[in-house]
Symmetry: C2
Subunit: 348 residues, 2 copies
Amino acid sequence: MAKLPLYATGIMGTFAILLMAAAGEEDALQKKAQEIFQPLPKNMATEEFPITRERVELGRSLFFDPRLTIDASMSCSSCHQPAFYGTDALPKPMGVKQRPHPRHVPTNLNAGTSFVIHWRGDRTNLEDQVFQALTSPITSGQPDENAVIDRLSRMPGYAPLFKAAFPDEPQPMTLRNIAKAVGAYERTLVTPSPFDAYLAGNQPALPQAARAGLEKFINTGCVACHNGVGIGGGMYRKFGVVEDYWKATASDPIDKGRFDVTKDPDDLYVFRVASLRNVAMTPPYFHDGSVATLPEAVKVMARVQLGVTLNDADTRDILAFLESLTGELPANFATAPVLPPGAVVPAK
Amino acid sequence: MAKLPLYATGIMGTFAILLMAAAGEEDALQKKAQEIFQPLPKNMATEEFPITRERVELGRSLFFDPRLTIDASMSCSSCHQPAFYGTDALPKPMGVKQRPHPRHVPTNLNAGTSFVIHWRGDRTNLEDQVFQALTSPITSGQPDENAVIDRLSRMPGYAPLFKAAFPDEPQPMTLRNIAKAVGAYERTLVTPSPFDAYLAGNQPALPQAARAGLEKFINTGCVACHNGVGIGGGMYRKFGVVEDYWKATASDPIDKGRFDVTKDPDDLYVFRVASLRNVAMTPPYFHDGSVATLPEAVKVMARVQLGVTLNDADTRDILAFLESLTGELPANFATAPVLPPGAVVPAK
């Protein structure tokens, strides 16, 4: 290196110190993030709900098969569409026979990371959700277990799949096993994102704007609720801590949330905190889909939960962070399975 | 080769002659098949309807996007589901707002090989079908072009796709161009099958039972209508030549077919001959989906079109041939595209 005048080495020294300080701040930010969040696991199997190849294969077929529902027109994938990252782009979906669902569709991607299922937590886990959906008047329209099993029995291709998935059971074709199989499939649907790479130690995996957004996301207080492996999905919270939520959204009607389940006044306007994974791909937002765009949703949250008015620059940075939570669509979700052929004549 | 007694060489000679005779018959069958049928082209582009990468990409997104329809709940893929080889497993589908479609869904796979579109031929080609569907009260429910374009305009991701697909047009977002793009996509959806390999010269590509079935399919007279590249789809024919079709099916109501389009008495009960490609994967059968299984459909056809009562062995062979018409699902159909994000509030 050529010799430099003293003032120049002084400037370079300052620059190096600034760089080091910046690097130190970046490391501190990453360390903080690693305390608040966890990267996605490889899958979401549990001891109670294990994954086997056969259950996943069966569950995947069932997930995409509309023939289980009363008019054979809606499958799990009708609301949880791959093309919309496991959602349907609607404020609220229509169920069978034009019966409206009361709340917005949350994505089924990474859903096994949530501590309960549904906005009001009235499903204990994925398997419970599927089990109840199979005879729900809105989701399925089928009157009982017999009606669903009768449908499946008419398609000869399904019996061997059930036998393979539940080899020890003499009569494996049951609602409980449908729920276990679809649950097993859903527990494979994880979408690791640039933010997961960052949490795992790869600092440059997160673009600079996203790192700035992460810092603001932490410092603004969003992480009080949106934390853990799901960046949300880990607790209940009142929607509208500082201000009634419906004053900031286009909500109609006003949903009382978990109160309608428990009748406990403490649960008034309480919902499960939404996971923010893939949030940029899943508009509209909130339990009623009442806000159409992500910038608007971020501003509403800051206002009604934290009493903060975000300026456009801060919002942009936070959006850059939220966009880093988009992962790749799992191949076994993006690609529809070929279903066991069989025509059904739907019940009227 | 060891020397053999005379009687042994005599036996072997007879055997060789029989083998040669059989080989000669196999060659004759293949030659006949090559006169009657043609293998699928690589795609179904025409001079009038060319394929470009950009049009196919746009068309594929539009095909899977339910946001074009009035309640944003149905896309082309709702009836033409990849999981059912481009059909929906129903006798007749339900359109938007529970408005029933009058006829069974034919697969969109290889559909560009058909000489006209729809059972009654009232759509001249794929593009005409899409164009009319976009404002059909049953298929779409949208009142006019403006309503559809307004929907698309709300999703910022679409404008660049239209610009890329139709680079010379100042206002490329039109119903005509939607139709051209979806048509271009559909013209890529070909499913080459073992039978195509056989037609191209690979005799063993067709299993023995299928070759026996092919011979019966030819000799019974099925090929009078089911011929050409689509093994059907090339002409109109009366359904019920020997006997009224509804005496052999569960048809209700009785559909007068093309007569209702042309009012020409010669068109009474006349329909487009169905293509038999992928027929084993697309139950139920006929214009009204009135027959649930393929063996039954084969027997009905032999009976009402040809006055032939097929025995079970012949039916089995013909089924083996029909199963050889199943090709692999095209990758750009099996896998759903990720759509431009954007929430819609559907019209009431």
